[in-house]
Symmetry: C2
Subunit: 265 residues, 2 copies
């Protein structure tokens, strides 16, 4: 959160209340979301959401995790989650502009993001569920022509300052993706994606448990859970974002990201 | 480097001399390798090389970059570098043991690693060359069955504490991969890989320049330049590492990594 007095983590208790850290990444390295009630300090209701997690140690993404998106890419329902990494440098705030060259194929991918709240290694799904700090929204904006250049998607997924995240973290006592939350993407006001997290092939604890088999997840790490059907490259003809477009990414119970595209800046 | 007095960065000047940082990652965030002569302090010749770069911001790997390895995977010579990421958590020191489950297919990939020495974004190849801090050795130990589980290699490449790096950084005035250095891997004393960096499809400045198109490289970041032919999965029959095996990864002019495999620990 940005306040007139500088950056601070904050918790919502009938208004934003200051937490003892400059941002949520710093907060989660020391505290848990369960501590937030006790630690909430003075009122900072003039706070404005900025990039929720400026310095996660790991950002891991799952591809091909909704049945309809798997179908539109022409692939089979997977046995294992398809995983790739992106850097913290890709992340931007909930209302930030996305600057890109004019000559790349920029696509949208609305996603539920799960934020890790405990150290997880070789975690069972029960342990992984207990280690979830909460949920937020991401849009895994993808540069499709670069993504297709080689077998590995990374270079189409790791462009600096292209992945909006936020606006807030909602804790597991308030939202349960297994019960189903709607993940929606609109481009210039037209709905392009709508999926329900009930239909995820690999749900949040399954993903965290699986990832923890090979690498340690730590508080503040972020896992993007994949995007539902309706991406631009699957439209007929394929349709990409251009300068001046507005992408809205919304999840009931969490909020909305609103990001403008600017090219050739 | 580990010394009786604790961890320190060090420079070689007729013996190891202390540099004003706890390790090379910390040193490169503040200084350059060109400063090392002026900054070299007291003699720490009892220093023992440990993990060269404990906290790089980014570790980016290039696959399919030697003609003979491309051929053994049955693929075409690429137009673009195939890139993927691994985490700093994958890195271990030059003599560290590699602990893995007994039931995975563990393979070797000897590689030249280039260490970034300047901030690079949209860098030309000339700028990228000038932004190289130096070169070191890596072995991109790969869990082949996990790598093959999905389209994306990441989950076979990002196992914690499996990628030895080091033992030292050699600066560009002492070594030039374009002139050709031999990259060698031996398993239990038997040579399995030998490639020459002269034959890289994408050389070091080409890789750094390309990567800098989409993400910012910073001092201390590491780019693995790919492995030559001779990996275990291409043997007939495919041959993987097992507990008790020793992997030696050597580059003339830099040194050697010696890593034992331990399973089921």
């Amino acid at each position: 959160m940005t306040t007139p007095g500088g950056s601070t983590a904050a918790a919502w208790r009938d208004g934003w209340r200051r937490l003892p850290a400059s941002d949520l990444s710093a907060y989660l390295r020391v505290h848990t979301t369960a501590d937030a009630h006790a630690l909430a300090g003075d009122d900072v209701s003039d706070a404005v959401p900025t990039l929720l997690l400026p310095s996660p140690g790991k950002v891991i993404c799952c591809g091909l995790n909704y049945g309809d998106h798997i179908a539109e890419t022409g692939r089979e329902r997977p046995t294992y989650p398809t995983l790739f990494a992106k850097f913290a440098d890709t992340l931007i705030g909930p209302d930030d502009t996305i600057d890109l060259p004019a000559d790349v194929e920029t696509d949208w991918e609305a996603e539920l993001a799960v934020v890790v709240g405990a150290e997880l290694r070789n975690a069972t799904q029960t342990e992984a569920q207990a280690g979830i700090a909460g949920y937020t929204i991401a849009n895994d904006i993808s540069i499709r022509d670069w993504q297709r250049r080689t077998l590995q998607w990374f270079q189409g997924k790791a462009w600096d300052a292209t992945t909006p995240l936020g606006p807030v973290l909602v804790t597991p006592d308030e939202i349960d993706p297994k019960d189903g939350v709607e993940v929606v993407c609109r481009v210039n006001g037209i709905e392009r994606q709508r999926g329900n997290t009930r239909t995820l092939v690999f749900d949040c604890p399954a993903l965290l448990s699986y990832i923890s088999t090979f690498t340690t997840l730590r508080p503040g790490d972020v896992v993007l859970t994949g995007t539902p059907g309706g991406v631009g490259m699957a439209m007929d003809p394929p349709t990409y974002l251009t300068g001046g477009d507005t992408v809205e990414t919304e999840i009931d119970g969490i909020g909305m990201l609103t990001n403008h595209i600017r090219t050739g800046a």
